[in-house]
Amino acid sequence: SQTIHQWPATLVQPVGSPLSLECTVEGTSNPNLYWYRQAAGRGLQLLFYSVGIGQISSEVPQNLSASRPQDRQFILSSKKLLLSDSGFYLCAWMRTGINEKLFFGSGTQLSVL
């Protein structure tokens, strides 16, 4: 069966510090991968998605970047965090084909102080 791992679960970072969130998927090959952000009391905002190694599409211009160095690894990064980067970050993968579904990781709560 497929599983998705996302870490860390909680992160507190000072303004101006770098960020690296990692997500890995097991049990499938060439998945579509996604990073979403959820601000308190708001819906999920799609940040990046990837349909293959090295292929990254950005949905919202911002202080963040994403990379996919391996087939089942997706990384969200920032060189200098802003207060507005605080939120709940979710990695997800899509099972494509018939009955497409999006499966989420457990999320990372990021607080920028």
């Binding site: 819906g43 999920l44 799609l46 998605y49 709940f88 494509t96 497409e100 579904k101 499966f103 989420f104």
Partner: protein, 108 residues
């Protein structure tokens, strides 16, 4: 612009009091409408996918229906464990666009 709107924002129910959540959408080329359940501090959990108007799906006390412009999630005789935020999303291409969610609180 594609858009998903959920209502109400919050719903407080007494145990056993049935109700419905609404998800209205405007999207060209809908590939599917999804419902998720999200508990505080956790990732959303998949509930249903609906593909065409008139389609219905059920899971325990939840039933999802779809028309050309909106979807409903009916909660029948809810229990406290049904308390959660319910998210609706529409799929276009390989992306899902989410609504802001409806937070349901069921009191015993």
């Amino acid at each position: 612009e594609d858009q998903v709107t959920q209502s109400p924002e919050a719903l407080r129910l007494q145990e056993g009091e049935s109700s419905s959540l609404n998800c209205s959408y405007t999207v060209s080329g809908l590939r599917g409408l999804f419902w998720y359940r999200q508990d505080p501090g956790k990732g959303p959990e998949f509930l249903f996918t609906l593909y065409s108007a008139g389609e219905e799906k059920e899971k325990e006390r939840l039933k999802a229906t779809l028309t050309k412009k909106e979807s409903f999630l009916h909660i029948t005789a809810p229990k406290p464990e049904d308390s959660a935020t319910y998210l609706c999303a529409v799929q276009y291409d390989y992306k899902l666009s989410f609504g802001a969610g409806t937070t349901v609180t069921v009191r015993a």
